[in-house]
Amino acid sequence: MAREMMFGEAIATAIMEEMQRDSDVVFYGQNMAMTERDPYVKKFGHDRVRLTPISETAELGIAVGAAMMGLRPIVELYMAEFMLVAFDEVVNEAPRLRYMSGGQVKVPCVFKAGFGFAAGWAGQHSNCIYHMIMGIPGLKVAIPSTSADAKGLMKSAIRDNNPVVYLHHYMLSLDKGEVPDGDHLVPFGVADVKRAGTDVTIVATAWMVKKSLAAAELLAKDGISVEVVDPRTLAPLDTKTIIESVKKTGRLVLVDQAPRHASAAIIIAGEVAEHAFPYLKAPVKLVTALDTSVPYSETMERYVLPDEDKIAQAVKSVMAAKTAKA
């Protein structure tokens, strides 16, 4: 059975179901659980559902300590960039404590954060930070693009025995999609082909999947068949599915909302350069944000960020570069 849900609703459903299933799951963060009317508080009480002050270091550190003692905390962070004031906990505590203890402890916790607020939130709230954390051994990163994946990845994140940063894109919050009922689990490290195609592979995550699918639609009218691959988790990264797709199409465009050297796209391009080089008929092409912070004004913000047209143009350019090899 499945039901149509908004992206944000799908995440909430996953948390609700997992809290119901496992009493070790706790959920806290700023500006939540303020009153008895809060749906989580109503169902699970104030021990398991709590409000925190604006103290990200304490919030994340408490999650780490609680996880070591057997809870499975989910920390609501609203905006991924707020993790930066507490980044040591994300990068240097949660993923390292198990290793440093020689496997004696585990740190199962979920840091849930919105990102990519491309709606006038300007320089400090609109960025993408996944490139910073997708290579930290011991840390997983989930980044859904559909309601179904949003639910399934959140459930997997909560059940995972490792720390997980779960990133949900603000601009997708109200998007609707079919979501399987009940125990719908999306495994980590398994990319999803969101659209099959034969001429060019696009790899994209989150909002950029939506934009890439729109571009693919445009390109189909020009007779170009685009395959859109969504890794769904950046750590672990399903390089295999990406390479399989490149083997088939021979062409690769990577789309990312972040600037070039702060993108997942360029990291994936590096993987492809090492492991799929023989299959490429043309150089890979990156479509990323320009190398600026995100400006406030809509005219400039649009100019900086990737969109359907820029993606479509990039696809056409790799199609044109037929025999680019030396």
């Binding site: 700023q30 604006i54 006038g120 300007a122 320089g123 400006p295 406030y296 809509e298 005219t299 400039m300």
Partner: protein, 340 residues
């Protein structure tokens, strides 16, 4: 610091009225011109007495470092409301040329180096500005404004300790409006929960800590003035807790475009259903209160008050029209100012 004379009190009232008028027009923009303001805008209505009372103690080159809730201060510092409104409206003639928006105003020419949207960080920036003043021996004092919620961020504590050890010329003004976004302070501050004032946090740094009624500009003036004198004399920072009520909700509602955004009801009502609390705050509005006081002591007549109010209205209406008429930035402008 000497109490402000009558003229200065009228000056204070004037700026309070200008800020209120400005914020009300920002709020109305969401209704009158949907989409013109993007992202998140935070208003200072309710804070006017605290802001202007504090800034009335300034020497003209003293610096001001507020948070993302930063429309009010520059209006007192001499920034044109045109530039501020145009910035909030994403225009090329905005003081930040449309790069910053409501949360990230800056006007260094008027002693406002810039605002950060990340809670707590501006407190450290303020201390840094004070360090520069100390090294360069300019005699400047820095006014660091931040919220009650921000006082739970590590940056706050680290900075106050360091400022105390270095005896930096900075005054920390904790604007306690009893809410951090949707959260009432009783749910998140250990001092408040125990019935203690937030100014007690000063004890962790062995610096003076004072709590003051932030709806009375003269009380704020006195407390901040004392702290400024101390700072300027090289005796280091103080913590002033200024208590007042934010009369608008935290900011415009957070929605995903193209869903339109507007201001909802104040959280006291919207979240907690506490109408009486909100009504009491409205009844204690600092502007009519100070107006009445000035009239009573003869510093202001009804007519002169009306003149001030009319002038403010005209000035801000002009700012709105200016901002609406200003062009949007050219898309390619986005590539400017990344590097110095």
């Amino acid at each position: 610091m000497q109490a402000p004379g009558k003229d200065r009190q009228v000056w204070i009232y004037n700026h309070m009225v200008r800020i209120r008028e400005f914020e009300e027009r920002v709020k109305r923009t969401f209704v009158d011109h949907p989409g013109v303001i993007r992202g998140h805008a935070h208003l200072a209505d309710g804070a006017e007495a605290s802001i202007v009372g504090a800034l009335a103690t300034r020497r003209e080159d003293d610096l001001v470092v507020p948070t993302y809730r930063c429309h009010g201060y520059p209006l007192v510092l001499g920034t044109s409301p045109r530039g501020v409104m145009a910035e909030i409206y994403q225009r090329r003639d905005g003081i930040c040329k449309g790069f910053g928006g409501s949360m990230h105003l800056a006007d260094p020419a008027h002693h406002f180096p810039g605002a950060s949207g990340i809670v707590g960080q501006s407190i450290a920036h303020a201390a840094g500005a004070a360090y520069a003043a100390q090294v360069k021996k300019t005699g400047q004092v820095v006014y660091s404004f931040f919220g009650d919620g921000s006082s739970k961020q590590g940056a706050f504590y680290e900075t106050l300790n360091l400022a105390a050890v270095w005896k930096l010329p900075v005054v920390f003004i904790l604007e306690n409006n009893f809410y951090q976004a949707y959260t009432h302070i009783s749910l998140e501050d250990a001092n408040f929960a125990a019935g203690d004032p937030l100014s007690q946090k000063a004890k962790a740094f062995s610096i003076p800590g004072v709590t003051v009624d932030g709806t009375d500009p003269l009380k704020v003036y006195e407390a901040v003035g004392t702290a400024v004198e101390r700072a300027r004399a090289g005796q280091g920072p103080s913590l002033i807790e200024s208590q007042f009520y934010r009369l608008s909700p935290h900011g415009n509602a957070i929605t995903v475009p193209p869903v339109p955004t507007q201001f909802q009801e104040h959280e006291a009502i919207e979240v907690y259903g506490r109408k009486a609390e909100f009504q009491a705050a409205k009844a204690n509005d600092p502007i009519p209160k100070f107006r009445a006081a000035l009239i009573q002591q003869g510093a202001l007549s009804d007519a002169s008050a009306k003149k001030i109010e009319d002038a403010a209205q005209a000035e801000i209406e002009d700012a709105v029209q200016f901002a609406l008429a200003s062009p949007l930035p050219a898309p390619e402008d986005a590539l400017k100012y990344v590097w110095a």
